[in-house]
C-alpha cells in the first residue's frame, strides 16, 4: 500500500473544500473525504496484517524514501509499524466523527472544515514519518489550525486559551527542535529514525538530549506540570476541536515520547525513567482529584484527560514490554473515548446551552440516545470491563507490576487508586445530568440526537467496544513494536 495516499487524501479533501461553493458542498465533501480516510486506514490495517501473516517481519512496512533536502540529509521517509497503524486508525475514527458532529457549524463553515482536515493531515503525516525533520514538520503544521479553531469558533475565554495553547505547544516544539538538532549533529548528520535506531549515542549526550525531547513531546501530551494548556484549550475549543485536541493531538506527543525520545535515546530513558514515573503518577492523581472539583462538563473531561493520559506516560516510564504495550493501548483507547466524550458533551451543550452540571438533570427522558452514549463513555472512562479503558489500564498496571521494587510498586498502587476517584466523578456527573428530576423546565422541549450525531457516536462506540471486547488484534499490532523498543532499551 502506498502510504502517500494517507497524506494525499486529506490534502485533496481540504483543497476540494476550499474550492467548493456552498456550505452543503463543504460538508458533504468533508464527509466523503473522511470516509475515504477511514476506508484507507482499514485497508492499511488489513494490508499490514496480511504482510505480517505472510511472515514479513521487517521493522517498518511499506517503506518509501524520497530525497528532499539532499545536502542536509532530509528525506521524505515513510513507513509504518504496528503503532503507526493503530494511531492512523484512531485518527481516521476521530476525523470522521469530528466532521459529523460539526454538521451545524454555521460560522465560516468552509474555513472550519478546511482547518479540521488540515489538522487530520498533520496527524497522518506525523504517524507515518520516519524522518525526524519531516516528523517535526507535520507536528508543527497542526499548531496553527488548533489556534484558529479555538480562537474563532471557540467559547468562553477563547483568545486566552488559544494563545496559551499555541505558545505552550511552540515551547514544546522549541525543545524538540533543539533535541532533534542535537541528535543530528552527534550522529553525523542524520535525521532518519531507522538509521538513528542503530546508532549508539554516548550516554552523556543522551542524558542532555532525552529531557529536551521527552519534555518537548510531553507538552503535547500533558506531562505534569506542563499540562496547563489542556483544560483551557479543551474547554474553549469547539466540539470537533476538543475531539481533535484530546483524541489526536495529545497522542502525537505520546507517540513522539516513545518513538523519538525513548526509542532513539534508550540510555537517557533509563536515566530519567523514575522522574517520568513520579511526574505521571502525580498527573494521574492530580488530574483525578482536580476533576472532582469541576462543575463544567468540558473541564471535567479535560482534567480527566490529564489523568488518563498520565497512564500512557506511566507505562512508558515503567520500561517493560507489557507496560509500553499498555501505554500504547491507552493512547488509542483514550483517543477514541475522549473524542466520544467531547462529542456527547457537545451534543448536550448544543441543546441545553449550558455545560454546568448543576443546571442539568434528567436529560435521559428527553434524549435517550445521547444519554445512553454518555453512560457508555462514562463507564469506559472509569474502566469498566468490556470497554477499551479497562483493557488498556489493566495492561499498564500488569506491566508496571513487573518491576518488583518498592518504588515502582508504590507508584503503581498510587496510580491505581485514581480509578476510585474516577468512578466518583464520572458517576456523579452522569447521575446528576442524565438521571434524576428535570432541573430546567425548558429542557423538556429538547430533542434527541440527529442522524449525523448518531452516526458519529456509533462509530466511536464501535471503536471502544471493539477494543474492549476483542483487544487481541490491537495487542497483535502493538506488541511487536513495543518489543522492538524494549530490545533497544535492553541493548540487544
Amino acid at each position: 500500500m502506498n502510504l502517500l495516499i494517507l497524506i494525499g487524501a486529506p490534502l485533496l479533501t481540504a483543497l476540494a473544500v476550499l474550492l467548493s461553493r456552498n456550505k452543503q458542498q463543504v460538508k458533504w465533501i468533508s464527509l466523503a473525504g473522511s470516509a475515504v480516510q477511514l476506508a484507507l486506514a482499514f485497508s492499511l490495517l488489513i494490508a499490514f496484517r496480511q504482510e505480517r501473516m505472510a511472515g514479513n517481519n521487517a521493522l517498518m512496512l511499506f517503506e518509501q524514501n524520497y530525497k528532499l533536502y539532499e545536502s542536509l540529509n532530509i528525506n521524505f521517509h515513510f513507513g509504518v509499524d504496528g503503532i503507526s497503524v493503530a494511531m492512523i486508525l484512531l485518527t481516521s475514527f476521530v476525523v470522521i466523527a469530528g466532521v459529523l458532529v460539526s454538521w451545524n457549524v454555521e460560522k465560516m463553515t468552509k474555513e472550519f472544515y478546511f482547518l479540521l482536515l488540515l489538522l487530520g493531515l498533520g496527524a497522518y503525516g506525523f504517524f507515518i514519518s520516519l524522518d525526524l525533520f519531516i516528523l517535526f514538520f507535520f507536528l508543527e503544521i497542526s499548531v496553527i489550525p488548533k489556534y484558529l479553531l479555538i480562537g474563532i469558533w471557540g467559547s468562553g475565554k477563547k483568545e486566552y486559551s488559544a494563545n496559551k495553547l499555541a505558545l505552550m505547544l511552540m515551547g514544546g516544539s522549541a525543545l524538540i527542535l533543539v533535541g532533534m538538532l542535537g541528535i543530528y549533529f552527534t550522529t553525523g548528520y542524520s535525521f532518519d529514525i531507522m538509521t538513528l535506531s542503530k546508532e549508539n549515542i554516548p550516554a552523556a549526550t543522551q542524558n542532555i538530549l532525552f529531557p529536551l525531547l521527552f519534555v518537548g513531546f510531553g507538552v503535547f501530551t500533558a506531562l505534569f506540570p506542563l499540562h496547563t494548556w489542556v483544560p483551557d484549550g479543551h474547554s474553549s475549543a469547539p466540539t470537533a476541536g476538543s475531539m481533535f485536541l484530546a483524541g489526536i493531538s495529545m497522542k502525537l506527543g505520546g507517540y513522539g515520547c516513545l518513538r523519538v525520545a525513548t526509542y532513539l535515546l534508550p540510555e537517557g530513558a533509563k536515566e530519567y525513567a523514575n522522574i517520568i514515573i513520579v511526574l505521571s503518577a502525580i498527573a494521574i492523581l492530580y488530574g483525578a482529584f482536580a476533576t472532582m472539583m469541576q462543575k463544567d462538563l468540558k473541564y471535567i473531561n479535560a482534567y480527566s484527560s490529564v489523568s488518563h493520559v498520565g497512564f500512557s506516560l506511566l507505562g512508558i516510564g515503567m520500561l517493560t514490554q507489557t507496560a509500553i504495550t499498555g501505554a500504547l493501548m491507552q493512547m488509542v483507547s483514550h483517543g477514541v473515548m475522549t473524542a466520544l466524550f467531547f462529542a456527547v458533551i457537545g451534543m448536550v451543550y448544543d441543546r441545553t446551552h449550558t455545560r454546568m452540571v448543576a443546571d442539568m438533570g434528567g436529560l435521559m427522558k428527553m434524549m435517550p440516545f445521547i444519554a445512553t452514549v454518555f453512560f457508555i463513555v462514562g463507564l469506559c472512562s472509569l474502566g469498566l470491563p468490556g470497554f477499551s479503558g479497562f483493557v488498556a489500564e489493566m495492561t499498564v498496571f500488569m506491566g508496571s507490576w513487573q518491576n518488583d521494587d518498592a518504588f515502582h510498586r508504590i507508584a503503581t498502587i498510587a496510580a491505581a487508586m485514581s480509578i476510585v476517584v474516577t468512578a466518583v466523578y464520572i458517576l456523579r456527573a452522569t447521575g446528576k445530568t442524565m438521571m434524576g428530576p428535570v432541573v430546567n423546565e425548558e429542557h423538556l422541549q429538547l430533542g434527541d440526537a440527529k442522524w449525523n450525531e448518531k452516526l458519529a457516536a456509533i462509530i466511536l462506540v464501535a471503536g471502544i467496544v471493539a477494543i474492549g471486547i476483542a483487544p487481541g488484534w490491537l495487542n497483535d499490532l502493538l506488541k511487536p513494536a513495543a518489543e522492538e523498543i524494549m530490545n533497544r532499551i535492553a541493548g540487544k
Binding site: K67, L68, Y69, E70, S71, L72, I74, F133, F137, F138, E140, I141, V143, I144, Y147, L148, G151, I152, K158, E159, A162, N163, A166, L167, M170, G171, S173, A174, L175, L177, V178, L181, G182, Y184, F185, T186, I208, L212
Partner: protein, 459 residues
C-alpha cells in the same frame, strides 16, 4: 558587470523620460514595471565569472543569484506599491533613487576592494535617505530621513576609520590580500570592531538599531519595504562575504561577538515588537529580530551558513514584502496603520487577511510556509558547534515572536470591531504581486531544489 550595466541603462532611460516629460504616471509605471521584470528575468542569463578593474570588482554564480533576489524584490515592490506610486508627483525620481541605491548594492556585493566597497555602500545609502523623505508634506517622513542620514553618516565614519586602521596594519585594501595579511594583532581587532559596528548599524543589530523604528515608521511603505528587505538583504550578503572571506582568520574572535549580538538582537527586537501598535514599527522590530536569526546562521563558519542565509533572505523577500504589501494596500485606501485597525479584517477582506496571515506565519517560522525551512536551516547552520544553549535561546525566541505575530492574526480573525476596514478593492497588479508573494511563501520551502541549487553555487 552585466547586471550593473543593465541597471545603469534603465536609470539613464528614466532620466531621459524625466527630461522629455509628457508621460502619464500610469503608463510610465507600467513601463518601469515591465523593465524591472525584464531586468529580473535577464539577471539569470549571461552571467560571467571573474574579476575586473584589477580585482576591484568580481562576480561569482552566487553573487549573480544574490543580485537576482534583489532584482526580484525591487520588482515586487514596484508592483505592490503601485497604488501609492501612481499618485506621487515624482514617480521617475523615486525609481531613479531606488535603482541607484540598487546599483550601489550590486557594486557593493561584488566589490573586491575596501574603497569600492565604501563608495558603493554610500551609493546604496544616500538615495534611500532621500527616498525616506518622499512624503514631502509629512513631518515624520522628514524626521525619519534626517535620522537615517545622520546615523548612516556616523556609521560611514566608523567604517572609514576601521578601513584606515586595516590599511595601516596590513598595507592593503584589497579584500583577498587582507585576509592573507591578518594576524590578529590588537590593532586589527580594533579595526575589525569598527568595521563590524558599521555593518551592525546598517543591519540594525542591537545595540545599533535605534534609528530603525523611527525611519521605518516615517517613510512611505514602499521605502520601508525597500529598507527592510532589499537593503537588509544586500548588507547581509556582503557581511557574510566579508566575515567568511576576509576575516576568516579571526573566527575565534568574531564567533563570540556574533553569538552575543545575535542573542541581544533577537531578544530586544522581539521584546520591543511585543508592544508596538503601528504596523510599520511592528514590522521594523520584527525585522530586527529576524536579523538576529540571520546572525545565528552566520555565527559559525559552517558550510551551510552562506546557503542558509541566502535562502532565508529569499524567503524573507516574499514574506516581508507580502506583509508590507497588505499594509500598503490598506494604508493607501484607508490611511489606517495601526494593528487595532486590523480588527475584524477577515470579515471584510478575506484575501488580504489570508496573505497577511501567511506572511506572518512564514515570518514566525510555522510550517508549511517557507519560513519554517528558512529558520530551521539557519538554526541548523548555527548549531553545528553543538552549542545547544545558543540554539535553545534562538528557539525560545521563536516562541516570543510567535506571540506577537499571533496578536495580529488574532486581531484580523477573532477580534470584533464595529468599524472594520471597509472592503478594499485591490487592483489586478497588486493582487498579482500578492499572489506571487503568497505562492513564494508556500512553494519555496516545499520545492527543495531551490535550496539545493543555492547550495551548489560557488561563492
Amino acid at each position: 558587470m552585466k547586471s550593473e550595466l543593465v541597471l545603469t541603462g534603465i536609470i539613464f532611460l528614466l532620466l531621459f523620460i524625466k527630461i522629455g516629460k509628457g508621460m502619464k504616471n500610469e503608463s510610465l509605471l507600467s513601463l518601469i514595471q515591465l523593465l524591472l521584470l525584464l531586468n529580473f528575468i535577464f539577471s539569470f542569463f549571461f552571467n560571467k565569472e571573474g574579476n575586473l578593474f584589477g580585482d576591484m570588482f568580481y562576480t561569482t554564480p552566487l553573487i549573480a543569484f544574490q543580485k537576482s533576489i534583489l532584482n526580484l524584490g525591487v520588482y515586487l515592490i514596484s508592483l505592490l506599491c503601485s497604488d501609492w506610486l501612481k499618485k506621487t508627483q515624482h514617480l521617475p525620481e523615486f525609481f531613479l533613487l531606488m535603482l541607484s541605491a540598487l546599483l550601489g548594492m550590486f557594486l557593493m556585493i561584488s566589490s573586491g576592494n575596501l574603497l569600492i566597497f565604501y563608495l558603493s555602500l554610500e551609493l546604496a545609502t544616500i538615495p534611500v535617505a532621500a527616498m525616506a523623505n518622499f512624503d514631502l508634506e509629512r513631518k515624520r517622513s522628514s524626521e525619519g530621513a534626517m535620522k537615517m542620514i545622520l546615523s548612516s553618516a556616523f556609521s560611514s565614519g566608523i567604517l572609514l576609520f576601521g578601513i584606515s586602521l586595516i590599511y595601516g596594519s596590513t598595507g592593503s585594501i584589497s579584500l583577498p590580500a587582507i585576509s592573507q595579511l591578518l594576524n590578529g594583532s590588537p590593532l586589527q581587532i580594533l579595526a575589525f570592531v569598527f568595521i563590524f559596528a558599521a555593518f551592525a548599524f546598517k543591519l540594525s543589530i542591537v545595540p545599533f538599531h535605534l534609528w530603525t523604528a523611527d525611519v521605518y515608521e516615517g517613510s512611505p511603505i514602499a521605502v520601508t519595504s525597500f529598507l527592510s528587505v532589499i537593503s537588509k538583504g544586500a548588507i547581509a550578503f556582503i557581511f557574510i562575504t566579508v566575515l567568511y572571506k576576509v576575516f576568516s582568520p579571526m573566527l575565534q574572535i568574531w564567533y563570540w561577538m556574533i553569538v552575543i549580538l545575535a542573542i541581544a538582537t533577537m531578544v530586544i527586537g522581539n521584546l520591543f515588537a511585543l508592544r508596538q501598535q503601528n504596523i510599520k514599527r511592528f514590522l521594523a522590530f520584527s525585522s530586527i529580530a529576524q536579523v538576529g536569526f540571520i546572525l545565528v546562521g552566520i555565527s559559525n563558519a559552517y558550510y551551510l551558513g552562506i546557503a542558509s542565509v541566502v535562502y532565508f533572505v529569499l524567503i524573507y523577500v516574499f514574506s516581508n514584502l507580502a506583509a508590507f504589501g497588505v499594509a500598503a494596500v490598506i494604508a493607501e485606501k484607508t490611511g489606517k496603520e495601526n494593528i487595532d485597525d486590523y480588527k475584524g479584517l477577515y470579515k471584510t477582506n478575506p484575501f488580504l487577511t489570508w496573505i497577511m496571515a501567511l506572511a506572518l506565519f512564514s515570518l514566525a517560522g510555522i510550517p508549511p510556509t517557507a519560513g519554517f525551512f528558512g529558520k530551521l536551516f539557519l538554526l541548523t547552520a548555527g548549531g553545528a558547534k553543538a552549542e545547544y544553549w545558543f540554539i535553545l535561546v534562538a528557539a525560545l525566541n521563536m516562541i516570543i515572536s510567535l506571540y506577537y505575530y499571533l496578536r495580529v492574526v488574532r486581531a484580523m480573525f477573532m477580534d470584533k470591531n464595529d468599524n472594520p476596514v471597509e472592503p478594499v478593492k485591490t487592483s489586478p497588479v497588486v493582487k498579482m504581486a500578492l499572489i506571487i508573494c503568497g505562492g513564494g511563501i508556500v512553494l519555496v520551502g516545499l520545492l527543495s531544489w531551490i535550496f539545493e541549487y543555492i547550495k551548489t553555487l560557488q561563492y
